[in-house]
Each structure stands twice: as structure tokens, then as C-alpha cells.
């Protein structure tokens, strides 16, 4: 790409002065940041600091109080359902809880997001097998989600997020509850997806190893505000109590 292109042309996700509260409780105050195409942004923050709420606001699952959210130049907080769906087609969302469909088998869970696309059954199954293998799950296609372990559920949720080959991926704690080996594999997988498909991602995590592997840029949320923003190395040098606490191992 031409160097002279202004950086704002590369901005694919733009959050401006986002405020969100539940009742009297202010969760997010005046959050602003941008993500450029092909970037992995890692969000750190204490439990309850509003990270999950933030990405749900971005994708339009939660209404916001004020501010503006743009994905690919669509104003998410003013979009109608068909515009939202148009954007969501390009988005993969890994819920913190996995949000697996209990009443559907593993295979049905995986191909569910493909239903809206005109894809042959055979190709759906191939795609499902491929993502299952990439997250290290085999021979579970016929099981029900309730028969899986916590880590397996997490990985299945990840597989379901990846199956549509989305342009944007929002990961809510992708490696929580996984052993360090699997955790590393998942981080590597996230990186290779970014490189292969030029995806843009927001990654929420407490896992500093995962952050180290995946982050192009990091952002620390504290008490509903953006505390600092910078690369992994920059943040690790910072002299701030909260930030230090994350980097202390």
C-alpha cells in the first residue's frame, strides 16, 4: 500500500467517545481508539472493568449511551438490522462463555453460522473438519456440547468463530481455562489466521503469553477508561501500578 495514504484510510474499526452504563452504574466512560486493517489489538483490564461489555457494544449487541462506533464505515450504533447483518457477516465473535448451542451437536454447532451462506453440505462438513483439526479437536463431531470439558467447549467456540473465515474476529478470552501447551497452540493459530487472511482482531485476555504472541498493540482498561495504549514492549516498561501488575509473572 502507498505510504502517503493517510492512516485514517486504513482504520477499519473506529470507536469514538463511547459511554455505556447499566442503570446508575457507569461501566465505560469516553472510550476512544482505532484499529487499522490487519491489526491485532489486545485489551487488558481487571475483571469487571468492562471488556466484554465493550466488544458487545462494538458489535451492536448492547445499546450505547453516547459516542459513535464505526466498522468499515458503517455506524454500528445507528445501523438498522440489515446493515448490522451486513457487517456481522464479516465478523466472528468468540463469547467468553462459548455460547454453544446446547440443543445441537458439535457438528451442527459448527455449521450453524454457515447456514446463511449458500454452501453445499459436503463443503460445510469439510470446512468443519478443517477448523476442528486446527483447534486440536478430533472425533467429537457427534457429541453434544454438554459432553465436552471446559477447555474443549472453549476450543469448539473458537472453531465456530473461525469457520466463516471472518474478516474481523473478536476474541473474548480465547485461552482462559486451557493448559499452557494448548494455550500456546491457540495463540499461534490466532497469529497464523491473522497472517493468512489479513484479519483484524480484538483480543481480550488475561493470559500474558497469549498477549505477547498475538498483540500488535495493546490497550489497558481501568475503571471504564483507557489507561494506556502501546505495544507489548512499551507497556512492559511503564511505571504504572495497574499495568505493572499485569506484567509481573
Amino acid at each position: 500500500m502507498d505510504e502517503s495514504t493517510s492512516s485514517s484510510n486504513n482504520t477499519v474499526i473506529d470507536v469514538k467517545h463511547l459511554c455505556k452504563s447499566f442503570g446508575d452504574k457507569q461501566i465505560l466512560q469516553d472510550i476512544s481508539f482505532q484499529i487499522t486493517k490487519g491489526e491485532n489489538l489486545v485489551i487488558l483490564g481487571k475483571s469487571g472493568s468492562g471488556k466484554s461489555v465493550l466488544i458487545k457494544c462494538i458489535i451492536g449487541l448492547l445499546p450505547i449511551d453516547s459516542g459513535k462506533i464505526l466498522i468499515n464505515n458503517t455506524v454500528m450504533n445507528e445501523a438498522n438490522l440489515s446493515q448490522l447483518n451486513e457487517v456481522r457477516k464479516a465478523v466472528g465473535f468468540l463469547f467468553q462463555s462459548g455460547a454453544l448451542y446446547d440443543s445441537l451437536s458439535v457438528m451442527e454447532n459448527l455449521v450453524f453460522p454457515l447456514r446463511r451462506k449458500a454452501i453445499l453440505k459436503r463443503d460445510q462438513l469439510l470446512a468443519a473438519e478443517e477448523v476442528l483439526k486446527s483447534v486440536g479437536l478430533i472425533d467429537i463431531a457427534d457429541k453434544m456440547p454438554s459432553e465436552l470439558s471446559g477447555g474443549m467447549r472453549k476450543r469448539l467456540g473458537l472453531a465456530r468463530t473461525l469457520i466463516t473465515k471472518p474478516q474481523f474476529i473478536f476474541y473474548d478470552e480465547p485461552t482462559t481455562g486451557l493448559d499452557p501447551i494448548t494455550s500456546n497452540e491457540i495463540s499461534e493459530l490466532m497469529n497464523s489466521i491473522q497472517q493468512q487472511f489479513k484479519t483484524t482482531s480484538i483480543i481480550i485476555t488475561h493470559d500474558m503469553a497469549c498477549a505477547h504472541t498475538t498483540a500488535n498493540r495493546m490497550l489497558v482498561l481501568d475503571e471504564g477508561k483507557v489507561l494506556v495504549e502501546g505495544s507489548f514492549d512499551e507497556l512492559s516498561q511503564l511505571d504504572n501500578e495497574t499495568v505493572k501488575a499485569f506484567f509481573k509473572i
Binding site: 449487541l61 456481522r88 463469547f95 455460547a99 448451542y101 446446547d102 440443543s103 450453524f112 453460522p113 446463511r116
Partner: protein
């Protein structure tokens, strides 16, 4: 996709309710017959027994009992299922994958309940009549053919159509109420319990109210 899910819901709501609806229907028919016999006998009108029982079953008892049973069985399961899907973010997940959860979850269930309730009622009516046949035969000896002709003698088209029409509304009420309660459930497992509970309570109450209105409306025309 919506169609296959509708068929699946019809199976859950309709087919899975058959045993319960059948057993209660049979018992209602049997009990009603046994209890009505002495009264009719004291008027010397025992031969009216099948006709009286069949009219009360088809007009009132069949539809209302089926409605109440389904409000309990179907209403609670829809309410709890949708509520737990809401609470565990499964509905949100559908939304972000671009599938309209309202069409996929709510429309299919409401339509399935609306279609299945009349069918279940017909089934329940038939089993009740069978129960009544047994009741008649406890202290009598009536062939099935004779019983049927006696039971059908007083039944008219104007008994059957309004009573089945109101079951369509019973189904609609059960579907709408339980889907609404589930879909808008509050967070947490407490929300699931509450949704299931209020689905049953409100749907059962509505069934009696619809039944009362139906009687009023029917009496205008007949």
C-alpha cells in the same frame, strides 16, 4: 432452515405430549362417565350417558384439559429453554452470526404450538371417548358400535368447530406467552426459573379467559 426447525418443534410439542394428553384424556372420560351415571340413572336416562359425556368432552373438557396440560408441559419447556439460551448468550451468538433468532426460535415455536394444540385436542377427545366407553361398560354391556352411535347422536358440527377454533387460540397463547417470557428473561439462572414459572401461570390463566370469551362469542352465533 426455519421450516425444518418448525417440524422439529412440532415433533417436540405434539408428539412428545401424546402420552400425557392421552392418559389424562382417558381418565377424564372414564371418571366423567362413572360420576354422571347415578344422576342420569335417577332420572331413568341412563341411555343418555354416552351423548352427555361426549358433548361435554368435545365442547369443553377436551380443549381445556389439553390446553392446561400443554400450558404446563409445553409452556414451561419453551420458557425455560429460551430463557437459558438467553442467559448463556446463545441468542446473542445467533444474532452476531447473522441469523435472526426471532424467526428461528420464536416464530417456529409459536406456529408449532398453534398447529399442534388442535391436533392434540382431537386426539385427546378420541381417547376420552374411549375412556368413556370403558366407563359405560363397567356396569353395562354396550357394544362399541352402539356406544359410538349414541355418543355421536347429539354431537353436531356446531360443537366441534368452535371448540377446535378456540384451541388454535390456546396454542397461540401458550406459544406467545412462553416465548416472550423466555426471550426476555433476566440474567442468571434465577431468570430461567422465573420465565418457566410465569410462562405456565400466565398461559394457564389465559386459557380460561380465552375459553370464557369463546363461549360468549359462540353463543352469539348459535
Amino acid at each position: 432452515m426455519i421450516y425444518t426447525n418448525w417440524v422439529r418443534q412440532c415433533y417436540f410439542i405434539g408428539y412428545n405430549s401424546l402420552p400425557l394428553v392421552g392418559i389424562t384424556g382417558f381418565i377424564m372420560g372414564l371418571v366423567l362417565t362413572i360420576q354422571s351415571r347415578p344422576t342420569l340413572a335417577s332420572f331413568g336416562a341412563e341411555s343418555w350417558l354416552p351423548a352427555m359425556v361426549s358433548v361435554s368432552i368435545v365442547r369443553e373438557i377436551g380443549p381445556v384439559i389439553t390446553g392446561i396440560i400443554c400450558a404446563g408441559k409445553v409452556g414451561s419447556s419453551i420458557g425455560a429453554e429460551l430463557a437459558s439460551m438467553r442467559v448463556t448468550e446463545q441468542i446473542d451468538a445467533m444474532e452476531v452470526s447473522g441469523i435472526n433468532p426471532f424467526n428461528y426460535l420464536v416464530v417456529t415455536r409459536v406456529l408449532a404450538a398453534t398447529v399442534m394444540l388442535p391436533l392434540l385436542t382431537i386426539y385427546s377427545d378420541c381417547i376420552s371417548l374411549l375412556g368413556s366407553f370403558f366407563g359405560v361398560n363397567i356396569s353395562g354391556d354396550v357394544s362399541f358400535q352402539l356406544y359410538l352411535s349414541q355418543a355421536m347422536a347429539e354431537l353436531q358440527f356446531s360443537d366441534i368447530v368452535p371448540s377446535l377454533t378456540k384451541t388454535v387460540f390456546f396454542g397461540l397463547a401458550i406459544g406467545l406467552i412462553s416465548c416472550y417470557q423466555g426471550y426476555t428473561a433476566a440474567k442468571g439462572t434465577v431468570g430461567v426459573g422465573k420465565s418457566a414459572n410465569s410462562s405456565v401461570v400466565i398461559a394457564s390463566l389465559l386459557i380460561f379467559i380465552i375459553d370464557m370469551l369463546a363461549v360468549q362469542v359462540t353463543s352469539l352465533f348459535i
